[in-house]
Symmetry: C2
Subunit: 332 residues, 2 copies
């Protein structure tokens, strides 16, 4: 039995296709009796309007796509949960896709916006160049979260990574840190901003940065361990380490602890993100709380404006407030 169409429903209900469509879309110009007949026919045939036909006619899909390299970070899943909830509140469906860092896959997914498979795009960690992001954003509804390129037309939602890194570094200094090291990542813009904030805070305190190490590729627990090992092997040990993410900080703490050092007494460690890992770590991590869920909600709200208000090609970024969370991995 093939799929039922609006024609089939009309025939079964003994009305015209126009009336069926009106019932389907809740138009008020339908009599009660027609409405009942149509609904009965729909039930009988278990009819569902075909999405592609509806989308073609209406010229919109009520779907948005959220794009990231991976989904293995808790920050991402929180951000996308926010996007999903906000989208649902406005009657949209939010779909998620991972590019796996493959430019070709990313291209194909961004094309879903170009070819009208979705109405808008939430971009988390693009692989493509700033110019490409800008070019897409110029024409279509795109909003960035967390990672925001500098392109003219691009815009998005994030915290002030630079300032947050400055603040947490300042905390390390205020609690006695003098030889400050950093374990970061330069692959993403946010990583470079955090590095800048770190360096500035150290310099402003009249100190010079100790070692500044960077991870490549997949930047996780094991990178944290490996880079902490480098710190240890370098001889003169820092007394405080700022890590670019919690998960790296967790790896760092683990390596230091295994080497017999006490955190925070011998060496203080700070993370970034306040992901669930921060609480699982022993000792629990001092970190910067990113309002991930809220960022997702706001990102969708801005995207919605872009999608619905005609010339609303707003620029610039929206900063959301962050918060220092002081726990046990730094000296109180």
């Amino acid at each position: 039995m093939a799929r039922a169409t609006v024609q089939d429903v009309a025939r079964t209900a003994g009305v015209s296709v126009g009336t069926v469509s009106r019932v389907l879309n809740g138009s008020p110009a339908v009599s009660e009796s027609s409405k009942e007949k149509v609904n009965e026919a729909i039930r009988q045939l278990s009819y569902r309007p075909l999405a592609s036909a509806r989308d073609l006619r209406r010229d919109r899909t009520m779907r948005v796509l959220a794009l990231a390299k991976n989904l293995d970070s808790l920050v991402i899943s929180e951000v996308f949960r926010g996007v999903g909830d906000a989208a649902a509140d406005s009657g949209y469906v939010s779909l998620i896709a991972a590019t796996a860092g493959d430019p070709e896959r990313e291209q194909q997914l961004v094309d879903m916006l170009r070819n009208g498979s979705v109405d808008g795009l939430v971009l988390f960690s693009p692989t493509m160049s700033d110019e490409e992001v800008g070019a897409v954003a110029e024409q279509l509804s795109v909003v960035q979260v967390c990672e925001i390129v500098d392109a003219e037309a691009a815009f998005g939602v994030s915290i002030d990574d630079r300032q947050a890194a400055y603040d947490i570094t300042r905390h390390l200094i205020d609690t006695g840190g003098r030889r400050l090291a950093m374990i970061g990542h330069r692959g993403a813009r946010s990583g470079r901003l955090r590095e800048a904030g770190f360096r500035q805070a150290v310099t402003d305190a009249g100190l010079a940065p100790d070692q500044v190490l960077f991870g490549e590729g997949s930047f996780g627990f094991h990178s944290g361990r490996a880079l902490a090992r480098k710190l240890l092997e370098a001889g003169h040990l820092p007394d405080a380490v700022f890590c670019g993410t919690d998960i790296v900080a967790a790896g760092c703490v683990r390596e230091l602890t295994d080497a017999g050092l006490r955190v925070p007494d011998d060496i203080a460690v700070a993370g970034f993100d306040d992901s669930a890992q921060a609480e699982m770590c022993v000792p629990e991590l001092t970190t910067v709380r990113q309002p991930a869920y809220e960022m997702g909600r706001v990102a969708f709200a801005e995207l919605l404006e872009r999608m619905t208000v005609p010339g609303a090609h707003r620029r610039g970024r929206t900063f959301l407030p962050y918060e220092l969370v002081i726990r046990d991995s730094t000296r109180g």
Copy 2:
């Protein structure tokens, strides 16, 4: 400037729409010169075929949807990475959506399959009843991963949760466990299977289960801590605990350690999943490795068969091999 259509391209290139479409779809029946003219026109107009029109005509989308409650578990993100990679290999796009455990959202997303927004569905942790899953699977292309309902028509890919739980419990017994407790979750089918395996292993060893505790709702690190606290407060302490997931095991270990107990000397703890958390825990967790990525790949392969081979409504589940990973949280 409005979106360019195939008509515009045809006009610009000085050919007919038929020819444009043939170029677009790589039909061999096009002369070199036409092909060039069309491609040039496409470039000029930066034309992209509209997805909804194409899908309507072709009656398929080359998209699949992967559905889960949340994306915050590393097992899920690995499974979906497998689905995504396998889909890409076959020219499909795999989209992911979270239901947030909301039946209405779930309904809406499953409707994307009914209304032809996607060609197939990978179901991870359905909220709907077994019958509903069965009803959808009867008509459309659905495959389940990890959690598999008993409905007739339903089928999917998982490990043998019951046997795996049996094996790891056996390991706890073989390494000296006599008073065996479990911290599990009954919300999901896999949780009940793991419980059954645990009970069977304990009984088969001529022992009786000590406490068996269950978490509700969001079942994570904090549940693990809370339930471990209950164990502690119950007075007579077990000497081995099997936890339904690694993250709960991590919470459990943390609570026990904070209470001054030594893991595994005073009490052994085993997890399940071999997610990244297992290695981050101190001591590192003995656990069962689920081949999450591979499960995703296999799930897509089975889905593909359902989508493309006409009457291929295969039933029953596919079991993938699991593996005990012995680490430091149990007595060696």
